[in-house]
Symmetry: none
Subunit: 205 residues, 4 copies
DNA sequence: AATGAATGAGCATTCATTCAT
DNA sequence: AATGAATGAATGCTCATTCAT
């Protein structure tokens, strides 16, 4: 049997090394040398598996989006009903704290800033945002429908929840310790629940 | 005999040129050459007025914080009562759209990412966050007190509102057009108002 | 698979290129570009093998000290008796004239001036001076002991001889042709011999 | 009466400021800004009084040579006989220790290194060396003549003494504390005296 | 004479990318 | 696949010199 290539494995290692390096150094200062050291690989090897540094970044954005998705799916499995599913989602996103996550969150913040200037990063970042919006849309619509409320406010509400999440990542990374611990998930949930509770009942009959 | 100093004027020009450049290029790619061109100055002059590029960035963070403060104060003047003051605050922060502001918002997002890795930037960024938190704390406490509600949730609520604001900046800069237009201020206000309305009345009698 | 490292070889080449460049341009004007051209290497490569230019200078100081040591050892091999050993030492240091040596001497003078202001250079320069002093101390003590003379004057005498050597380097580099040719080794030896001859006999019996 | 220009005074201040700055920073790092600050003058003023920085250096070399000359003349006044005059000379050069002198000595060492690469500095440095040699020649010849000794060795002896002086400056500046304190003047004198004592009597009758 | 802002060439250093092995 | 040396363009920063006031 032919020797299996380990390219996929290597690519994943490199992407995770960028994640770790970027969390502490930002994107520009995450040099190929630094990433290679983090990954325990020779610098030249990175360009064997990826044509450019930017390509590694794009792969990382997709990986982070996928990781985020996985986390929700894992928690959503045990959730029943629309409200519980929404809670699972918010906890998946905002119930942070574990080691690897802190780095992922910091990297995500850095990616957000790169998206401001790099069209290619912006494109995949926006894909991730759209996907998130679609998911939130679905979850919130289900919640409102469950309570026979109007779904008119869903787009704005979804946007507000997404903003709260992104902002929480930003503040957790750049101003750690300034905000109260563990406020995020609970408060976000409370805000949404009270908003929904106060929403007018649906015109449908 | 001597020569009148124009340093303050020049420093301000340079800081605004960094703002404009950073909004489109990020911090690292906002080179001294680019900033100088934007300001219409010789590159060397930037280092005559600022020791390092990082120093210009710190000055910018302080300038943006001051600009933000001013904007709230201008709007708050016409506001009466705690609820109107809170609305004025949220509109000052999230009622964006005008030209200069878009750049300031993008620059702020980039600064947030730099704060992740540069301790000195982080320090001034955190000062700005703390100041914002204190202001929000005061505004929310007044709102709740006005309606004789418990103020126990104020810290978490303030953090959530701040996160929503930072996240809105992020999304507006990195994913323009993906989110509904003008959702931010109104939705944020609605979320807070409904949250407060549903809050338990204060134990005080 | 891997690639054989040639770092040691390259580092040595770079150090010798600094030596040659510094002899004619001084340290500050010995730019990385100039050194690279002298070595026939790309400028960037110098920073691949040395972190900073100052680091190349430190390596050069150590190299020159080692070269000096070697030269004495080669000459001392044929010397018999303390007096001949001392003569071998002084000739090793002051019997200059050959091509490579002129450059080494000029570089050493430049290094001496850099030691005035760069603490790290000063440290290694002082190490070299101490080593030289220890060697001179030993040689002079042996000479005096051989002739049953007091060794009380050895420290001052060693210092004077060392100063004469350093000064001869200085004058040979900065005022070539002003001083008589080939005076140095012979006169230094004569001064020391007559000093010893006139020294009081040791109190030991 | 017309207002007297203070140019000469200013020029002297600037030269002394270069002396002080160079002692601690070397020549290249003694920037116009730094020298101006040391002198308490505006940077632009330096180029009003001197066309280039190199011109200040040349003036300094001449000033130091003149200072050195003055010091000998002051001490020589009280000296009687050739031997005492020689002792006065050596003490004038090597009897260091006072504050201003340490800086002058360090600056002289730096100048010696600059003379290696700057032809114009080398020229005035060599003038100073020649003048010193002539003086030493005269003093040593007188000493030998006084004792009816051959003066054949004078050139080599003068060169050796000059080298010892320059080397003592170098070592005092770049390796302070490594050599015994106050060895220089005494040992130099002793070496010369014993050399002369052992010299053959003059063929003259 | 004096000031201090302005200029621009030159420097050490960084770094993505390439390439011979 | 893998290594690590090599390249060279780009960057922040320095600094002698100039100049308007």
């Amino acid at each position: 049997m032919a020797r299996k290539t380990n390219s996929e494995q290597r690519r994943a290692e490199i992407v995770m090394a960028l994640l770790a390096t970027m969390a502490g150094h930002g994107y520009e200062k995450a040099t190929i040398q630094l990433i290679a050291r983090e990954a325990g690989l020779a610098p030249g090897l990175l360009h064997y598996h990826f044509k450019t540094k930017a390509e590694i970044l794009l792969a990382l954005v997709k990986t982070l989006a996928a990781m985020s998705r996985q986390r929700y799916l894992a928690l959503a499995d045990n959730a029943e009903g629309a409200t519980q599913k929404l809670a699972a989602y918010i906890h998946a996103r905002l119930g942070l704290g574990e080691g690897a996550d802190l780095k992922a969150v910091a990297a995500w913040v850095v990616i957000g800033a790169e998206a401001v200037r790099q069209p290619e990063v912006r494109a995949v970042y926006q894909d991730a945002v759209r996907e998130e919006m679609a998911l939130l849309h679905e979850l919130l619509s289900a919640c409102l429908a469950e309570q026979r409320k109007s779904t008119a406010a869903v787009p704005a509400l979804a946007a507000a929840v997404l903003a709260m999440m992104e902002g929480a990542f930003q503040l957790a990374s750049a101003a750690p310790g300034v905000l109260p611990q563990g406020y995020a998930a609970q408060t976000a949930l409370a805000l949404v629940e009270r908003f929904i509770a106060a929403e007018a009942t649906s015109g449908l009959r």
